[in-house]
Symmetry: C2
Subunit: 187 residues, 2 copies
DNA sequence: TTTAGTTTTTGATGAATGTCAAAAATGCCA
DNA sequence: TGGCATTTTTGACATTCATCAAAAACTAAA
């Protein structure tokens, strides 16, 4: 939990009071490898902070699992679309490693927004960072080829390669596992 | 300007006081076709609301212009990365039609955030919507083929096809103009 | 209208990547 | 330390899409 409070200082500084309120509202969740944080069709009512571990978001398409994002230490994770709209999730969130998370419900978070302008500001700023990150992934997906995407991954988030099976990574990069294997053999 | 105040009601409702403050802080900008709202290398210091008209964001890659987004009536537009980070923009924003915009500087907006929690909330909610929109485009880019992307465009944003030259649309969809032409001939 | 510029389409070809099937390598645990 | 399951690699072939070049269609101004 201390890690969470520490991490959010990167977004904006909170008063002691607001920090304490946060401290009070997050609950610890411990899950083991392969368990699910969320399954398709359920409404995602929580936002999580990943203190330790790794997980992936994926959905099913024509019988195949499409992994479209990963979460690691210090990431906020949720099924964003479902969390925001409160519609059923189209995706699953599955643990890749045993993990420690901190959870807050949407309702609790909304209540915190009402009480603390500074917490809503923090989230507004967090959104900006996550938006920029997604924008970059979008440009990669749309305008770079398989090799460039893999090299970008190597440079920008090498930890992914070290901790995740190649099948998931291929999916994450939007290429087939075989193609990824061939690209890797050329280095 | 009334259109702007009306539009933001879709995000959240503002007090009269906050609405008046907004009214006070936006300035009208009128530009004609082909003019630039922003050019590569400049820092983007403003957020714009597009009341009437159309524009595109594009960047240069290997001598080609890559159009990666369009703006139309009721869109908030800016070079998001540059506006948030205050680093030089990598993209250009060019008018596709003569347009009427309303502009607010980052500093002015920040001051409004400080004075009105409810305005920061409005922007937080707007970010959520824009994030979800981008997420959808990302999934399309990464996991759908050219034909599916074009059909998605037809269904979800047909107005784009009616108002934008096909060359820009092809780029927006991440395919060559020739391929787009062939896809279109198959309907 | 005519003409010049721009946009869109068509054709031929090649490169990048996907798919299916099988082999090889790796990991895990009894 | 085997043996089984999973993950990764390799090979053959098919498909999608890009590229280059040229023709056709469209647009707008003289």
């Amino acid at each position: 939990m201390q890690q969470l409070l520490n991490h959010i200082k990167n977004y904006s500084l909170l008063s002691d009071e607001a920090q304490y309120a946060l401290y009070d509202c997050f609950e610890q969740v411990v899950l083991s490898k392969n368990e699910y944080l969320l399954t398709e069709g359920k409404i995602c009512r929580h936002l999580y902070f990943l203190e330790q571990g790794a997980l992936r978001g994926f959905y099913n398409l024509d019988g195949k699992e499409i992994t479209h994002w990963f979460g690691f230490e210090k990431d906020f994770v949720t099924s964003f679309h479902s969390f925001i709209t409160q519609e059923p999730a189209v995706e699953n969130i599955q643990l890749l490693e045993g993990s420690i998370l901190w959870s807050i419900s949407k309702d609790t978070l909304s209540a915190l927004f009402n009480r603390y302008h500074e917490i809503e500001r923090l989230v507004r700023i967090a959104y900006e960072k996550y938006y920029i990150r997604l924008e970059e992934r979008f440009v990669n997906a749309q305008f770079k080829n398989a090799t460039e995407r893999y090299q970008g991954l190597l440079q920008q988030t090498p930890h992914i390669i070290e901790r995740v099976p190649l099948g998931h990574i291929a999916s994450y990069l939007g290429i087939s596992q075989e193609t990824l294997s061939r690209i890797r053999s050329r280095f």
